[in-house]
């Protein structure tokens, strides 16, 4: 299975939902994430929670699906440290499922893990979702092709974003 053909990374899909400006900045390689404690917490959590299940072969770019398990079909798992941006996470997982499907892989569903909240979220995927993802990818293309990034969005979660000082400073 070659995941390299994916046009966007899963995180970009999530950014599209959260903030189009973030999507633009990230896609242009404008990032300041190295020093953000918030992001590091995310990484750490990811490492300790599921270090054993993670299959090495899925660690490569551009997509890093946290891990898979098999049942009726493939189950896509994604680990997140806060359910605050649930909608974005759901779309991200749907995006993974969609692409696996286009590669001819039978996927049964996705599961989002929120280990901190001890919460699991099941993500189903149907035909309408296919249209949805197509539409999203098209719109994402539009966003990243813009010469200038979209404006700041003034949302409460901006304060937790790695771009906060950049956007508002």
């Amino acid at each position: 299975m070659d995941l390299r053909e994916l046009k966007f990374r899963g995180t970009q899909v999530a950014y599209y939902v959260v903030c189009q400006r973030k999507l633009w900045l990230f896609t242009k390689g404008i990032s300041f994430e190295k020093e953000s404690e918030y992001v590091q917490l995310g990484k750490l959590l990811d490492e300790i929670s599921f270090s054993r299940e993670k299959g090495e072969e899925f660690a490569y770019e551009p997509v890093s699906i946290d891990f898979f398990s098999t049942g009726e079909g493939l189950v896509v798992h994604e680990i997140k440290h806060s359910s605050a941006l649930e909608q974005a996470h759901i779309l991200q997982v749907k995006y993974y499922i969609y692409y696996l499907k286009t590669k001819g892989i039978k996927v049964s569903h996705g599961i989002i893990h929120y280990p901190k909240q001890k919460k699991l979220l099941k993500v189903e995927f149907d035909e309408k979702d296919e249209e949805l993802i197509n539409e999203v990818v098209r719109k994402m293309d539009e966003v990243v092709r813009k010469e200038i990034p979209p404006k700041v969005i003034n949302k409460p979660y901006c304060k937790k974003c790695a771009y906060w000082e950049y956007c508002y400073g």
Binding site: K28, G29, I30, S31, I148, P149, E165, Y166, Y168, G169
Partner: protein
């Protein structure tokens, strides 16, 4: 946030598993790597490539100064956050004469507004000349003649002799302080640029060929009045640094070990000190102010949001 470490004693730096080990005679000191953001090595040290690769892996910059406290250069690991898009924009603003002139002027503007208050001098004439300047060379001349006024004021305020600015090598204490301070500011700006997508070699006021990381020279203009001259004034006025903190050799004047340590301590305290930053509605450190200045520059290049230099004295302590 990770710390800047200053090494002021001659010795050896090496890698000890995942820590930095500094040894000097009886002293053995471990510095945890995750707690380190940058090293200022203001002493003669010996080290090896293993140590440098440890720095490289962890994205830590080391600035080296020689025995006299003069800047030698920085160990700059691979570009931290490169962005092709930003680089293209940086170059575009260099090649376009008008765009380059705008940025060159704003760096000097920043330097002037931050000096004006410090020295209580009237800069209106220079600001007018700056406005009129039609090329980068003229902008440089405005900066040069204004800086002369500043150094004269510095001489008067401290009562220390200055005469002409002697760079290589400085021939009196005031010159030695300015050289040392300015090189610290330059290095510090480089340390912050590393964490942004900016390419440090493309500059506007200074020619990109002048120094390897010439963008630091540009941005340092805005911060030198605060971090070098403001600090010198404070250290001399409070009697923290006196003529006894210098060594004079035939052609050289430089800070002795004690003087260097005092200066570095004060420099670090100043970097950590905070001011209220209205746009973010909270206090930020001077170090963050440098970062924010770079962010504004990125926005100028990529979002057409005109770069307006920091007006330090308008911020509340």
């Amino acid at each position: 946030m990770a710390e800047i470490y200053y090494i002021t004693t001659n010795g050896t730096l090496r890698r000890d598993e995942n820590t930095i080990m500094f040894e000097s005679g009886e002293i053995k000191k471990k510095i945890p790597i995750e707690n380190t953001s940058e090293l200022f090595i203001v002493a003669e040290v010996s080290t090896n490539t293993k140590f440098l690769s440890l720095l490289s892996q962890n994205g830590i910059i080391a600035h080296f100064f020689n025995y006299y406290g003069y800047y030698i250069g920085s160990f700059y690991p691979r570009e931290g956050n490169p962005s092709g898009h930003v680089l293209i924009k940086q170059v575009e603003h260099y090649l376009d004469k008008e765009k380059r002139l705008y940025l060159a002027k704003t760096f000097v503007l920043g330097s002037i507004i931050n000096s004006e208050k410090l020295y209580q001098i009237d800069a209106s004439e220079h600001l007018e000349k700056l406005k009129q300047a039609s090329n980068v060379q003229e902008v440089m001349q405005v900066e040069g003649s204004f800086r002369k006024l500043c150094y004269k004021a510095l001489e008067e305020l401290t009562g220390w002799e200055f005469e002409t600015r002697t760079k290589r090598p400085p021939q009196n204490p005031l010159n030695a302080l300015i050289s040392f301070g300015n090189s610290l500011v330059y290095a510090k700006v480089l340390g912050e640029i590393y964490h942004t997508p900016l390419n440090s070699t493309v500059s506007y006021l200074h020619e990109p060929s002048e120094k390897r990381h010439s963008l630091c020279l540009d941005v340092a203009e805005v911060f030198k009045p605060i971090l070098t001259e403001g600090l010198i004034l404070e250290l001399i006025r409070s009697g923290t640094i006196t003529e006894n903190d210098f060594l004079e050799e035939t052609e050289y004047c430089y800070l002795n070990l004690d003087g260097r340590r005092k200066f570095l301590r004060a420099f670090d305290n100043l970097l950590k000190s905070t001011v209220y930053y209205p746009k973010l509605k909270r206090k930020v450190s001077i170090r963050t102010l440098i970062r924010l200045e770079l962010y504004k520059l990125v926005k100028h290049l990529t979002e057409n949001e005109p770069y307006i230099p920091l007006n330090y004295h308008s911020l509340k302590k």
